[in-house]
Subunit: 130 residues, 2 copies
Amino acid sequence: MQKQQYLTKNQQIVLDLVEKSTQPLKAYSILFNVQKKGLKAPLQVYRALDKLVEIGKIHKIESRNAFVACKNSSCQVSKATAFSICEVCEKITEISSSSLSKYLTDFKDKDGMKYSKYNLEFFGLCKKCR
Amino acid sequence: MQKQQYLTKNQQIVLDLVEKSTQPLKAYSILFNVQKKGLKAPLQVYRALDKLVEIGKIHKIESRNAFVACKNSSCQVSKATAFSICEVCEKITEISSSSLSKYLTDFKDKDGMKYSKYNLEFFGLCKKCR
DNA sequence: TGTTATTTGTTATATTATTACACACTGTTA
DNA sequence: TAACAGTGTGTAATAATATAACAAATAACA
């Protein structure tokens, strides 16, 4: 069997919700919102989220246990992510800076080790909150 | 009242344990290990961890919900952290690269926004696992 | 000594995430 | 076409991670 080409029903329902949201959503908030669509159990949501993260449609904000849709339409795989997080209003923005991603993708540590993936989270105050 | 100068008993117990460990520890594994020393409840551990993270003695590996002692003895505040994580053996190393930290500390986004703190996690395979 | 902030201990509970198992769907291949 | 492999689904139960709320103890210091 080939790798899945299209999203399944559950994955599409979850993705639609996350894409509509202007801010990151928590898993159980997603669950609450999709219960009318038939996803009754946490696992149904987590499975959809896992897949969507794997194929790069959404990202997980690790420090917040929350999920956002990937804004970068060409993003097929989630292997280089960077976010800015306002510590007051919790506004979260995906950073797309080619110089930053180039710097980090090329980064080698002391032992010359190169990494296949990274996640970066910046914290500070957004414009409004300053 | 002045900012706390020395660690409290609970904080010291938790720090000692985390410093002795060669790998990151989970909160409930810490709890299990310090129960003989009188810390019986999760909250006692979490409170100590919060404080230790705040003063930079330990860092949290967000993607793993685990805690490591800071290897950098001069690290007083935890505001710029970077780790490498092996996705096979889960070995985690704190990266101390002055060029990396300079690059990230100086990083400004499109709007010219500068951040006060960041956390970076690299994923890949360590030497042994390749 | 009285005041204030911080820390502690305790119980209960909230939040986040996974295990386990039976079954269904889809395409491959023997 | 029947067996199978891989993936996805539904469900219940439970594990793992983290916080709320409150009363009491402790430390700093005017």
